[in-house]
């Protein structure tokens, strides 16, 4: 982008290509993990951890949030995380249903 002195700032490609490489690698790891003999809960935790790392990379680099003012991230992210965590309040009820079902 041209700055005040008229110079064009060329954004480096390398960090984005590195992040893309990591995202592809994490995807391969996830697919391999799906075929390992882990308990369902352990599998869920591992896959969701990888997904959260992937999401953080996409938000930080591809969506440019780490290059924007911190005030933007501080306005958007805590509210989103809070609402998502509040949605987890329903799970004790689904466990109750699971335990009530005949097997």
């Amino acid at each position: 982008m041209a700055n005040a002195t008229g110079h064009v700032h060329v954004e480096p490609k390398k960090p984005f290509l590195v992040v893309w490489g990591f995202l592809l690698a994490f995807t391969a790891v996830e697919t391999i993990l799906a075929y390992q003999q882990f308990a369902l809960k352990v599998m869920l935790v591992m896959l969701m951890t990888l997904s959260i790392v992937k999401a953080a990379l996409i938000i930080s680099y591809f969506m440019h949030l780490r290059y924007d003012r911190p005030s933007l991230a501080w306005t958007l992210m805590p509210a989103l995380v809070f609402v998502i965590l509040m949605l987890f309040v329903v799970f004790p009820d689904s466990v109750r249903l699971y335990l009530m079902r005949p097997r």
């Binding site: 999401a55 591809f62 440019h64 306005t75 329903v90």
Partner: protein, 215 residues
């Protein structure tokens, strides 16, 4: 004029303290802030649906695991790779637009659209395969009846986002080349596309990998 000087001194200083009511506390164009607010609200919509899916799944001991390695898991993995690659092409489009490379921007955006179309085609093929096996919104041949409703709702809403994204990027590519849109418009459309990619990073493991047929 002395009055103008006095008025200028009343303008809040930008960049000194972002929380003190500056003209642009986030230092982004309004449409970018608008897109971020949309993304946060859309993320909550997807989160609610994913939680609803998880709720019925936890509550159902007979949840089906119908996705065999070939073709379903391979298909979904290829779809993930396509979507991730379409994100890097959008990064290149935003980069080219900031340097005012109009033709290059349009080409990178069209490459992204191609990725989106390919994603949709592979996904529709997956849908048709499941429908052919007897999966409907309220029943399926394998177990918990809610499998079909949750699968088609989550992936259908995501596919709708991809399709809207392809159209959105097409309009932006055309308008940027014709100098009707600016680099800011390309960046804002890129934000939307990355979000669509981000949502899939959760749908892929939760819907496909957690329901992979392993035995």
């Amino acid at each position: 004029m002395a009055t103008e000087g006095a008025m200028e001194s009343l303008q809040p200083a930008v960049g000194q303290d972002v929380w003190s009511g500056g003209v642009s506390p986030y230092a982004v164009v309004p449409k970018k802030l608008g897109m971020w607010l949309f993304i946060v609200s859309d993320a909550i919509t997807f989160s609610a649906l994913i939680i609803a899916y998880s709720y019925v799944r936890v509550a159902s001991p007979d949840w089906p695991r119908p996705f065999s390695f070939m073709p379903s898991i391979v298909n979904a993995t290829v779809m993930t790779i396509i979507l991730l690659t379409s994100s890097i092409t959008v990064v290149m489009a935003v980069r080219a637009s900031k340097m005012d490379w109009r033709g290059s921007t349009a080409k990178w955006l069209m490459a992204t659209m191609l990725g989106g179309i390919l994603f949709d085609v592979l996904h529709i093929r997956e849908w048709l395969g499941l429908i052919g096996e007897g999966v409907r919104l309220s029943r399926n041949p394998w177990g918990a009846p809610m499998f079909g409703a949750s699968f088609f709702t989550l992936t259908g809403l995501h596919m709708t986002h991809v399709t809207i994204g392809v159209i959105y990027l097409g309009v932006i590519a055309w308008g940027f080349k014709k100098r009707k849109f600016t680099a800011d418009d390309v960046e804002v459309s890129g934000l939307y596309w990355h979000f669509v990619d981000l949502v899939w990073m959760f749908l892929f493991p939760l819907i496909y990998l957690m329901s992979a047929k392993t035995a």
